[in-house]
Symmetry: C2
Subunit: 239 residues, 2 copies
DNA sequence: GAGTGGTCTAGACCACGCA
DNA sequence: GCGTGGTCTAGACCACTCT
């Protein structure tokens, strides 16, 4: 799977060291890292090499740099996590914020499809979160979220979950979601969709299938969303 | 629209110079640029500054760098353009290649919606390309493509258009498509969809609305695609 | 071996935020 | 005015490609 490097640049090693520290929670979200100079001295490399790594991690949205102030662990704040992974908007581009409403959480054995999707063992357990989200007060989105139970101990005992789960994953479980693979297709609304979203049976809806990945490409979450598609679109910029 | 720089880094100026040369076709796609050293000498800056710019342009997929060989103008080859902007695949991730079939091209006055979408003048003319594309021999995708006529003189007189238009835009008209904003929603198949794609009237289809932008964010193409959605998905990776 | 991009260093100076 | 990140330079050496 991994290829022999044969040659391993210094900045690669520095990169791995810093990623490991972040993963192991050496700094909390929002906290500042040591300065380039002190990191360089500590790691025995030049400032330029440290800079190259910090710039790369900033491009990956793991860090944030502020001139004159310092380098910070990027925070998955509500706003930020939303605008990064919530791709639903009005036709024309107006961004929208969903409001959470009812949700149900339970722990159960993983089904075969879930084990395959998330690379789980045979006897693995998962947490299933089902929730409906409102847009402008209207039920617009129904999500079924599956995460491995061993990654999120006790999450099912929480009174309420935040609107953006990824900030919770980060702050309470040290898991950074850094990318997501999404597949979108069209379906006809079922009776269940009618009950939950209020759409007519047989009207067109969007189904979004997301696999969310953490830092080392670990598969952390499988989410299937069913979206009322009148006056709502799935919007992305390809670059 | 543009903000006052107040301070304009050197590499920014170098960047603009090189982008302009590329836009004006100083080098052909696939051709190699001068080496970092000679560019640096010519522009009166250090090699490091040139390198920073070339790396940035490479990240924007405008250039390609090959160690030991040189820096090249990225080619919008069929394959490359496809995998960059053609986001349709099988559920699970298998990438697909469309084959072109029937197409119709005509020149006409721009409609109001088209003028708004592409920032055109009142009396502007557009070229409308309508085509159906096959996937695995099956009609799967119907596209209506609108481009400003003045950007593509004579394109309507061509015998046949290539499967990927963006390589044609680049090689014959010097226009590099660098990004695209897409909006996806679900609709029910109409009688027209039935005739063209062979889907049952009332079955769910995906509609993809794309605005393609060239180097300086000029709006170059508006494309609306209607996709047979059984066993096909719109797939993206959010990072 | 010559020429290219890739890595790494050391040091200078600039712009910014804050006390 | 200090400390931070941001820009810029000059030069050394490494890895890769081709002749």
């Amino acid at each position: 799977m991994t290829d022999t490097p044969g040659y391993r640049p210094l900045y690669r090693q520095v990169y791995d060291i810093l990623v490991n520290r972040v993963v192991q929670g050496a700094w909390r979200p929002g906290e500042s890292l040591p300065s380039e100079q002190s990191l360089a001295k500590e790691l025995g490399v030049s400032q330029g090499t440290v800079r190259k790594v910090l710039d790369a991690l900033t491009a990956e949205k793991l860090l944030e740099r502020r001139q004159g102030k310092g380098t910070y662990i990027a925070e998955h704040t509500q706003e930020r996590a939303l605008f990064r992974f919530f791709r639903i908007s009005r036709p024309g581009g107006e961004r929208l914020k969903p409001e959470r409403t009812s949700e149900a959480v339970r722990v159960r054995a993983a089904r075969a499809a879930e084990r395959a999707k998330l690379d789980l063992e045979r006897d693995a357990r998962v947490i299933e979160i089902t929730r409906t989200r409102l847009i402008n007060g209207d039920p617009a989105l129904h999500e079924v979220i599956i995460v491995p139970a061993h990654l999120f101990p006790g999450i099912e005992k929480r009174a309420a979950l935040p609107n953006t789960l990824y900030s919770l994953y980060q702050t309470d479980y040290g898991i950074n979601i850094v990318s997501a693979r999404e597949e979108v297709h069209a379906e006809l609304a079922t009776a269940v969709d009618h009950r939950i979203l209020g759409v007519a049976v047989g009207s067109p809806i969007l189904v979004i299938d997301r696999l969310a990945l953490s830092l080392q490409d670990r598969k952390v979450e499988w989410r299937v969303s069913r979206l009322k598609s009148d006056n709502l679109v799935y919007a992305v910029t390809l670059a």
